[in-house]
């Protein structure tokens, strides 16, 4: 692979053009999930369990079925009872039986909001009335919400078939602990013996929702011949196709999925909730079925990411060399196994070059919605604790937090706890950029504090398809299988334009349906610009090779005697002949004579996505009376490899940072004693609003990833890793408060203020 990312040679990459789908999105023309329709469609709605844990004794749908206007009612009896089957399907290990049971409960409901039945009716009102006529008899069971309580002896057991994996001897009694995992290098006991200073603390984080503004929506139809059409908003229409096929036992060739525009996902739209139900309802009713979640549905039935308990211990010598780091993490998986415990353990200390690290983790089920991926799954949780501990260590040592990190920084050749030796990485560059930024040394006022924290994420590559087709007039069409969630059409068109040597405006990027392009894995894992970008770049390079051949044919010279320069074929040298340059449009015009249409579609399984690092600096002012924290200034530095469209890269960093600020200060699932979520709406589940925030300065450090033709590293996930500790360390700096639990909401901060005062009063 040729590296073409030398900055001085680039004309299109690194500029900030308007995105191809922009006008549709500022004028209301863009079609999102809930905007899509099919002729003759009816409405599908679900009935959710009011209990967090109960056995389903019976479901009587007869009254609902008789209601005029009702076209079909389904329960688990209408969904194939598929066996347990583990597979790694991209966003993590997945058990398809669990996925099926999460879409529609079978024998037991496992969380408040678990779907037990669904209806299809001619309109909303009839569907709502029908839901009320479904009679479900439950045997209510004791429930458990908290992770520690779920692990305790005697806790209500969610699954009789769940035995803790990863312990020897194999357990003989079922447990809510699905898995125990451990990563170790060196000898932490020996490491702690060398330490002069040790910090040790337990932290907790709350489950938070991805909180995309667009609720899940789809419309689906199955015809008499078994062919299925689905239009849905998701992070991957190939994912919708695969999971719907698996859950309903349909051949993949019989399902065609069109991706609607997607109104945010952040990992939460990498699984199915509605689509299999919509197809099953369509089968029952003989009509296309449209399903749309309410916001309350989204909170109660989808996402969130895990909350957890994280114990951390870090030791260092007097001069700041970290000798050992250890963590024990317990993560809530929700109703089915699958918390991001592995990456949580792997990322906690990946920023550091450490000889002795021990990380132990537990994946724990409880009566909450099954967690879904959320930006850098797991890393923000463990990093909150680890980066808080590193900050406390710096205080104890009397060292500058950046100096302490630089002293222990991971670099090329550093070994991680999961065994991998880092390649070319930009962590030191990121730390130095943070240190050099004026923000780091700006003066602070009363009740104000500054915090710094850093973060790591692997980034992934994976399967992608990209095509570049030259149109008759010399313009180009770019097709990919990656839903555009944040401007990726622009970066795809830019990479193609760069390679073809034509203006960005002459390239249009579109995302066709699953039958019209090769398989492409979900838009997630910070993989699209890397992996799909690689496919598009390779397709454009193949087109250029073909264009050179076509020019050679027109000039009647050897293809080796043709070069491609700035969108034109030129003779390679004086010996090649004295031809005038042949622009792409002139070659396109003669395509029929030189061999037919010009284009290339390339499928890749991209490996070696370069990891990313970020360092965030946060200034806060804390009101000691109310406990309210105001974010005064925020700077996020990140190694992005190479920014294709810097404005959208900055946008990823700014957006990720603000999601982290919400996670730090406001957001949490609040459960009452009955196991019901008390804040299933945007009024009480408070995500950051414009007036909560200052400008977020994104600083792009570019240490190119040599595995990508333009040097791209994924950028979407790293920025959500540092904010929680950055905010926490800033609050600590402002009022010297001991804060260990998220969110750091006003009551918590106020309590910490009181606790800080208490010992003084006693003196």
């Amino acid at each position: 692979m040729t590296f073409i990312g030398n900055k001085s040679d680039l004309r299109v990459v690194g500029t900030r053009p308007v995105r191809p789908d922009g006008v549709d999105k500022v004028t209301g023309r863009a079609v999102y999930g809930a905007d899509a329709t099919m002729p003759g469609q009816i409405i599908g709605k679900v009935l959710r369990s009011p209990h967090p844990h109960a056995r389903i004794i019976s479901i009587d749908t007869s009254k609902a079925e008789k209601l005029p206007g009702v076209k079909g009612v389904i329960t688990s009896a209408d969904i194939p009872n598929i066996p347990s089957e583990e597979a790694f399907v991209g966003e993590g290990p997945m058990n398809f039986r669990d996925l099926s049971l999460n879409c529609m409960a079978r024998d037991k409901v496992l969380y408040e909001g678990h779907v037990v039945a669904a209806v299809a009716a001619i309109n909303d009102a009839v569907a709502d009335a029908a839901l009320k006529l479904i009679d479900v008899k439950y045997e209510v069971l004791p429930h458990v919400i908290d992770v520690e309580e779920a692990m305790a002896p005697g806790a209500p057991i969610l699954h009789d078939t769940l035995f803790t994996a990863g312990v020897t001897p194999k357990p003989t009694t079922p447990s809510n602990v699905a898995k125990q995992v451990r990563f170790t290098i060196g000898d932490v006991e020996a490491g702690f013996k060398q330490a002069d200073v040790i910090v040790e603390q337990t932290y907790t984080t709350a489950p938070v929702h991805q909180a995309y503004i667009e609720p899940h929506a789809c419309v689906a139809a199955i015809a008499a011949d078994g062919q299925v059409l689905i239009t849905a908003s998701s992070q991957g229409h190939f994912m919708i196709r695969a999971y719907t096929a698996k859950l309903l036992g349909i051949d993949i060739a019989n399902i065609r999925v069109t991706n609607a525009e997607i109104g945010g996902g952040f990992g939460g739209k990498t699984v199915v909730y509605l689509e299999p139900l919509a197809v099953a309802l369509s089968k029952k009713s003989g009509r296309p079925v449209k399903m749309t979640m309410t916001r309350e549905d989204v909170f109660r039935g989808t996402g969130p990411t895990s909350g957890g308990t994280i114990w951390v211990k870090v030791g260092a010598t007097k001069d700041g060399k970290i000798t050992a780091a250890q963590t024990v993490i317990k993560l809530q998986a929700g109703a089915f196994p699958g918390s991001p415990i592995n990456p949580a353990l792997m990322c906690a200390f990946a920023m550091y070059d450490l000889a002795n690290v021990d990380t132990l983790g537990y994946d724990v089920v409880s009566n909450r919605p099954k967690v879904a991926a959320y930006r850098a799954p797991g890393a923000p949780i463990s990093s909150f604790a680890a980066e808080s501990a590193i900050d406390d260590l710096a205080r104890k040592l009397g060292m500058d937090p950046i100096e302490l990190r630089l002293k222990n920084a991971a670099k090329q050749g550093s070994k991680t706890v999961y065994g991998v030796t880092h390649g070319v990485i930009g962590y030191e560059e990121v730390l130095n950029a943070a240190k050099a930024h004026p923000h780091w040394t700006a003066p602070l006022g009363k009740n104000q504090g500054r915090g710094l924290a850093t973060g790591f994420w692997f980034n992934i590559g994976g399967e992608s398809t990209g095509g570049v087709f030259i149109n008759e007039d010399g313009t180009a069409s770019v097709v990919t299988g990656s839903p555009d969630i944040g401007g990726s059409r622009a970066s795809m068109a830019m990479m193609a334009a760069e390679v073809l040597g034509i203006p960005y405006e002459k390239v249009r990027a579109v995302i066709p349906d699953t039958a019209s392009i090769g398989f492409t894995h979900v838009t997630g894992g910070s993989r699209v610009t890397y992996a799909t970008g690689m496919a598009v770049t390779q397709a454009a390079q193949a087109v250029v090779e073909d264009l050179k051949k076509r020019a050679a044919m027109i000039w009647d010279i050897s293809p080796e005697a043709v070069e491609w320069k700035d969108g034109e074929a030129v003779p390679a040298g004086a010996n090649a002949g004295g031809f005038d340059p042949l622009p792409l449009a002139a070659i396109a015009l003669k395509a029929a004579k030189t061999g037919g249409p010009i284009g290339s579609e390339i499928s890749v399984n991209a490996q070696g996505a370069g990891p990313g690092f970020g360092a965030h600096i946060c200034d806060v002012e804390v009101d000691p009376e109310t406990g309210h924290t105001t974010i005064l200034r925020y700077t996020a530095v990140q190694d992005v490899g190479r920014a294709i469209h810097p404005a959208y890269v900055e946008g990823q960093i700014q957006g990720g940072a603000v999601q982290g600020i919400g996670w730090a200060l406001n957001e949490e699932y609040i459960y009452n004693k009955k196991g019901h979520m008390d804040n299933a709406g945007f009024l009480d589940y408070r995500i950051p609003v414009a007036s909560d925030l200052p400008m977020i300065e994104a600083v792009l450090v570019e240490v190119p990833n040599t595995r990508h033709p333009f040097g791209v590293r994924g950028v979407g996930e790293v920025p959500i890793v540092p904010p929680m500790a950055a905010v926490r360390n800033a609050i600590r700096g402002a009022l010297d408060l001991e804060l260990f639990h998220l969110p750091m909401s006003p009551p918590r901060v106020r309590a910490a203020v009181d606790a800080a005062k208490a010992p003084k009063a006693a003196e």
């Binding site: 790694f88 993590g92 020897t168 995992v181 990456p343 850098a376 065994g419 991998v420 994976g462 996505a609």
Partner: protein
């Protein structure tokens, strides 16, 4: 000969704690077969659930990955997406 490194408990359960050993494999498929032979179940586990890092580069799917005589092959869980 390439060296296999295991840091996570999910693979160590198959190797009874052994965390670093040499293999004769020159391709990923040979590696999987050799692992399966030496530690029954490990080859299949690696095939289904593990990624490998070869000399620091992570491969989620490694059939094409080159193994050099002195390569360091680290077995790690596959990384998901957010």
């Amino acid at each position: 000969m390439p060296t296999v490194v295991i840091s996570g408990s999910s693979c160590r359960d198959f190797t009874h704690g052994e965390s670093e050993f040499e293999v004769a494999a020159t391709t990923f498929r040979q590696l999987v077969r050799e692992l399966e032979q030496r530690f029954p179940g490990l080859g299949e586990h690696v095939e289904e659930y593990m990624a490998v890092a070869i000399d620091g580069v992570i491969y989620q799917d490694a059939y094409h990955a080159p193994l050099k005589p002195n390569s360091e092959i680290v077995l790690i869980p596959k990384i998901g997406a957010g």
